[in-house]
Symmetry: C2
Subunit: 177 residues, 2 copies
DNA sequence: TAAACCATGTAACATGTTACATGATTTT
DNA sequence: AAAATCATGTAACATGTTACATGGTTTA
């Protein structure tokens, strides 16, 4: 039950159309919650039916025409409720770790190459995050909003750092075989 | 498409019934791939229909009777194929980070308490992993299988360590407000 | 005017979650 | 004999993925 709340958050930050939301889910929001345009359109329909958002009056509603949405008071209330409600951490579920476990049974052929490929990808993502940090969070930006957004970005940075280090170590250990 | 391969791996390690698998998914395997008994029974049915596993002949097949499964050659071949095939890293999708982002919009009330609760849970999980490491991976266990399994456990340890540190820092920054 | 792109969607399916159902075995 | 536990499932629904459909606008 997180996608609707991701959309509500995004729409509160700035009223948008489905495609604009899709683009934002490819960039900033997508760094910790990804979604495709199909998911977004489906969810926008539900949120509108439930009275949490509404179409901004202005455009003629027709296929191929842009439709912008904004959050209604009920939507904001639901987001406040969800944000404050306790939630247990999700158990880890990672295909790469599963593949290593299965490699222990059927052999490592092929996995080792993919570890190296992942290492490249994670290094690239880490660099992207570090650039964003440098650009968007200079020391003087220190309001509560800044600190929260910076904490989220730092989670991304630290997670990518974990992957880079873990992959480096794991690759070098498999090479020693 | 990972659950069937998680089950194949588990069954290769040791032929089991649905409930036994469920228990193993609550412990060792569940540390990086969780699944409920409903998922497992549904998937066992599919794997059997597809000819990747079969019921061990011995028990009468009846409701309430234990059914043990073993992996067929076709199943092993599919697992080998899947293990070697490249797969992109899954994009991050974490509800807690999303909640921090929404807290930046609607206010932090409630989230802070839950951060503290998560910190306790992650510390506990980290301790569990460290105990397992001490017990199951003494320095002399150093075969390829050991090194692979140890690498997986170390990913768990490093990830929990990340959460503990990140939560400590984030909590203390929010308190400084 | 054809191709590329913008924008919104449908359909089918795979996966994951929650609640409930049912028979067999063990314990009190 | 009742209660607890073992063991296997069904049903309904929510969420996520992949492939395709369709109309409008811009650009070569």
């Amino acid at each position: 039950m997180s996608l609707p709340h991701a959309i509500l958050t995004a729409l509160l930050e700035k009223p948008s159309s489905g495609l604009e939301l899709t683009r934002r889910f490819d960039r900033s929001i997508g760094y910790f919650w990804s979604a495709t345009h199909q998911q977004i359109y489906r969810e926008l329909g539900k949120l509108e039916r439930d009275g949490l958002i509404r179409e901004l009056p202005s455009q003629a509603p027709a296929r191929g025409q842009k439709k912008e949405y904004e959050v209604l008071p009920q939507g904001r209330a639901e987001l406040v409720r969800w944000t404050a409600a306790p939630q247990d951490p999700k158990p880890l579920r990672d295909p790469l770790l599963l593949r290593l476990r299965s490699a222990a049974v059927v052999g490592v052929t092929g996995v080792d190459d993919d570890l190296r490929r992942h290492l490249v990808l994670h290094r690239r993502q880490l660099d992207r995050y570090l650039e964003i940090e440098e650009k968007d969070f200079p020391p003087e930006k220190n309001s509560e909003v800044d600190r929260l957004q910076h904490a989220v970005l730092r989670a991304g940075i630290d997670l990518e750092t974990f992957w880079v280090r873990w992959l480096e170590r794991t690759i070098s250990e498999l090479d020693d075989a």
